[in-house]
Amino acid sequence: MRAYAKRWIPGVVLMLGVLAPQISEACAVCFSGRDENRLAFILTTILLTALPLIMIGGMLLWLRRRSVRQQLLMRDEPARLGR
């Protein structure tokens, strides 16, 4: 009987844990209970994720606009020179 109970106790504890979820601060570096700190984590994660995309996207967009403008200039040049 005791051996049978020993086998089931961890499972029951795990089930109870699943039924009553709570914030678990397992990693003090990656998470803090303070709202200000949690917000800082979210904002800096957004910043570091979005910044490279914005920079590369912005540069490509800028180059595209320059390219289109240059093509328009080249297309209009013969007309401008009277050819």
Binding site: S32, R34, E36, N37, L39, A40, F41, L43, T44, L47, L48, L51, P52, M55, I56, M59, L63, R66, S67, Q70, L73, M74, E77, R83
Partner: protein, 196 residues
């Protein structure tokens, strides 16, 4: 800004111009990497600052000089404006770019020297690299920016010397300009984040 159109022979299709000089593209990619470096440092500083219990800066640590640094910030921003003026003059009459470029360099040098004086005062008051996380981050972030400013000033001085001798290649000027704009544009963000 960088356009340089060439005349072409009749009957020959106009050759497509290079969109940006290689020096500028290279410098832009380098600046992007630098932006990520500083973004990482600012993020780490923000996390440490918000996780500290109590006041910031930590008790016993000196407060950073806000007003004096605001003047220094103005000097650096003015330096950026003067570099823009120099670039505009360079496009029209290269010899007229010399004076605004020199003033831009002098204001940048003022910024670095002023910051050095500020650091000496802060070290005297007990803010060192090992005194607290505040001190560590301050010297790391602000010091790294100062290092960038010094390197950019050396290159700008080289650009100015080449300009005075009428040997300046435009792409060198434009590439250096991008780097100085990065140094100038980054500073207000650091000032708002680290000093305030």
């Amino acid at each position: 800004m960088f356009a340089a159109r060439r005349a072409h022979a009749p009957g020959v299709l106009p050759q497509r111009e290079q969109l940006l000089p290689n020096a500028v593209v290279g410098m832009l990619i380098f600046v992007m990497c630098e932006v990520m470096l500083f973004a990482g440092l600012i993020s780490a500083f923000t996390i440490v600052r918000t996780s500290s219990i109590g006041a910031w800066p930590p008790p016993g640590q000196p407060r950073l000089p806000l007003e004096e640094t605001a003047i220094n910030t103005a000097a650096l921003l003015l330096s950026g404006v003067l570099l823009f003026v120099a670039q505009r003059a360079f496009k029209r009459e290269p010899e007229r770019a010399s004076r605004p470029l020199l003033w831009s360099i002098l204001l940048g040098a003022f910024f670095v020297i002023f910051q050095g004086v500020e650091w000496v005062t802060l070290i005297g008051e007990g803010l060192t690299l090992t005194s607290s996380t505040h001190g560590s981050f301050f010297y790391l972030i602000i010091g790294l920016h100062a290092l960038h400013a010094v390197v950019a000033l050396v290159v700008l001085l080289y650009v100015w010397l080449r300009l005075v001798r009428s040997e300046l290649v435009p792409t060198l000027f434009y590439g250096t300009q991008v780097f100085w704009y990065f140094v100038v544009g980054l500073w207000p963000i650091l000032y708002l984040r680290v000093y305030l």
